[in-house]
Subunit: 136 residues, 6 copies
């Protein structure tokens, strides 16, 4: 019997959608105002979901204090108040769409969780747009 | 590897729950105040979820601008500021419960999406009541 | 020293904006799709705010259970799951704009509150539109 | 073809995380301030999700009025404005973590639903922490 | 010309409404289930509002980092994961109604703000109940 | 008798807090990570509040369609998906703190409203930080 636990966090970042192998015209056509060379930004909301068995001693799937600290170290500290395109290694060669940000966060957190636990990332880019990635 | 993207939209509509093959008494007993012959209404929230592979060129599962326009054309324009029972073809012979509205929206959007993409509709009728339909 | 207490409630109703002294063309021009003769609807959110001194015995400005019951009797029961234009006396001759609904609710609740208490009504018509009326 | 319906409810309760087979030091180390012997509390949000076929007569998976009453009888009445550790049978010998509360609610509601219906419980403990249990 | 800045915070606490100068019967009659001797609890939301002139050097009314730290020291640390009746000096002899909690927080923060700044406290006890106090 | 109407809108922008008359060290000390030379960003929420008499013909204080268009023209179009520091005239020489953004928006909208109407701007920078400016 498994339970899923969800923990929410936030980071505020600048980004720009751009494909360097395309012409300026093609970037404008596909990405529109998201291609602004001076960047724009978002309050990103990230929900980290971990699924596993309840530990009979603690009553926890995972200690939320531990999960909160993992998110702080691997997501909030590197991404908060940063320019994703300029200030992070992860998006030097990866276009920071919501989809790619969710995949990157999944890969950053996965090594820090016990193999028996399943992981899903939900990323909110705006009130109306969000994405989910569970590794499959 | 697949990612799910979610896009939210809204429409404000009047409706009435009613089964024309039942007596007035049976309609009142089952649907209560939702059977009011003069209608009542809701701010419906609709979340359209699309699951598929990330396109390596765009970094998108589907361009949100395209998805937003599909929802506008096939959901918001026909349903917003309408009486679902009187003003729409879809609910002429279908009782506009939240369940049936979600199924109708799924069938309206499905033909406009690539076959490789999965589709799920979440419909919020009130802050406390919502439904989901994914075609299965 | 005064404290303001706020209590939220909800009602789901159909309505239509219409001025019977105007031509159909003028109604369409001013009210647009809100003039649909078959009605549309909303989940209305109403916040009732009462300002006064804290009673030293109870620690309350007003007992929330009393305020909740006043809202149920004078707002939710007459308006919930109704057509404001057809099913209520209050909007027989008053156009049910958000502004007018807030004023009507204020006048319905005012007689049931002690004269020493101030009253303000906030009405949410959609997530993006709301109005406030405090009697002045 | 199945649809999932969701119904939200709330209860406000005190609780304390504690494992009586552990030392005070171990309880403090694992549960931190959640182990406060004088208790703390939460506004718990519970979403009950029921999945099944749409009834062709009603257009419902389950009548929301029936589901609302089941939640009132089996969740809100026994848990609202209670101390989970002291006032309930369910948590006399079960540590009231969010995970365990979700599992307990699932088992309280399961017998009252038709076998053809699937059940999932989502419990919000704070704005940032929530858990889900679907019986598997 | 003045601007108001708002900063939100949260604390989770147990409490009980009780007037020790009243009989048990009177306490039950007035406070109902809020009088439970074993306590219940809430996720309290507190919004601290500060009004003043914009500093021309910083562009701030008050540095949000300073305001956040003041709320942490004087509200979150003493009240979070506590039993307000048993664990705090402030409510040893004051009934912890939402109204009184807002007044207490106002008095705890007022001395730490420049006299030229106005202060208002908004306290959310539940999603539907909240109170405001501005010192007047 | 006056009513206040509120209309919400959003824009997503990059910005950087910086005082060019200060040293780099002073900027870092005061603005911390908000001084990042590569910018960060936010989903800004703006609520425009207009107070005035109800027009007896329309039942409106101001037509929400007109107000929505004013916000689109004077706030969303110039600021959405922009870098406030680099792409706008308004913040070429004004530090784009939340306080200053609210004041700028107030001055941009004020000339487009009838003198009899009062105007207030509420700007949400994050879920926890917001500011208000009403011209006084």
């Amino acid at each position: 019997m498994k339970v899923t636990v969800h923990r929410k966090a936030h980071f505020n970042a600048a980004h720009r959608l751009h494909n360097p192998s395309w012409s300026a015209a093609q970037n404008t056509e596909v990405f529109g105002k998201c291609n602004n060379p001076n960047y724009h930004g978002h309050n990103y909301g990230v929900t980290v979901s971990v699924r596993g068995e309840i530990d009979p001693g603690t009553g926890y799937v995972i200690d939320m204090k531990v999960l909160k600290q993992l998110i702080r170290t691997h997501v909030e500290e590197p991404f908060d108040h940063r320019n994703l395109n300029l200030d992070t290694e992860e998006f030097k060669n990866v276009n920071p769409t919501a989809e790619n940000i969710a995949v990157v966060i999944w890969h950053k957190l996965r090594p820090h969780l016990n193999d028996a636990l399943e992981l899903k990332i939900t990323l909110h880019e705006t009130e109306r747009n969000s994405v989910e990635f569970d590794g499959h």
